[in-house]
């Protein structure tokens, strides 16, 4: 594809519900990152996938957060039992294995009521 695609672009959910966010990286990009951006703040690292290596999950804030990636394709970030503090923009980025430039999607704006 032309760029990193994220869906949905906006998600409103009720506290306690589960949500699933999707990221389609640029074709051929083996590295994939998830970041969280709270309003007016910087990007907070969540998880990193590189090819078939074990993902770096060190940034996931709690066991309510999980992410999967099948091979070098689509990734999904799942948040269980959502809380109001989960409200943020969730950004996905991908890059080629030996390149350092990250390509970001436009993000999913998650609002937990």
């Amino acid at each position: 594809g032309a760029g990193v695609s994220q869906s949905p672009s906006n998600k409103v959910t009720e506290k306690g519900k589960d949500v699933e966010l999707r990221c389609d990286p640029i074709s051929g990009h083996t590295a994939l990152y998830w970041y969280r951006q709270r309003l007016g703040q910087g990007l907070e690292f969540l998880i990193y996938f590189q090819g078939n290596s074990a993902p770096d999950k060190s940034g996931l804030p709690s066991d309510r957060f999980s992410a999967e990636r099948t091979g070098e394709s689509v990734s999904t970030l799942t948040i269980q039992r959502t809380q109001q503090e989960d409200s943020a923009v969730y950004l996905c980025a991908s890059s080629l294995a030996k390149e350092k430039k990250l390509f970001f999607g436009s993000g999913t704006q998650l609002s937990v009521l």
Binding site: Y33, G42, Q50, F104, S106
Partner: protein, 113 residues
């Protein structure tokens, strides 16, 4: 444990002026020092980056100055334009373990016409 400190938080510059944004890091295990630009509603996009063996890099109106001994690097925007109004993030790449980009808290730049 904040590894990256960015300043100022916000900056207002007259058109044609120079914008300077600073980033200080604490962990020496960084191998790549980029600046990202983010417009409202969009994901960040790579603006310019520097390797640690270089002290300065210039691309058009944008310059990175890197001071390894002081563990600081800065972004200079010459002849600032209203179209430069955006949020800027430093995001050095950590090499301990996996490759993670540690984003600063961001600088909101407004260039007055």
């Amino acid at each position: 444990q904040q590894q990256v400190k960015q300043s100022p938080q916000s900056l207002i510059v007259q058109k044609g002026g120079i914008s300077i944004i600073n980033c200080a890091y604490e962990n020496t295990a960084f191998d790549y020092f980029p600046w990202y630009q983010q417009f409202p509603g969009k994901g960040p996009a790579l603006l310019i980056a520097i390797r640690p063996d270089v002290s300065e890099k210039k691309e058009g109106r944008f310059t990175i100055s890197f001071n390894k001994s002081a563990k600081q690097f800065s972004l200079h925007i010459m002849d600032s334009q209203p179209g430069d109004s955006a949020t800027y993030f430093c995001a050095p790449r950590a090499t301990s373990g996996t490759y993670k980009y540690i984003f600063g808290t961001g600088t909101r730049l407004k260039v007055l016409a």
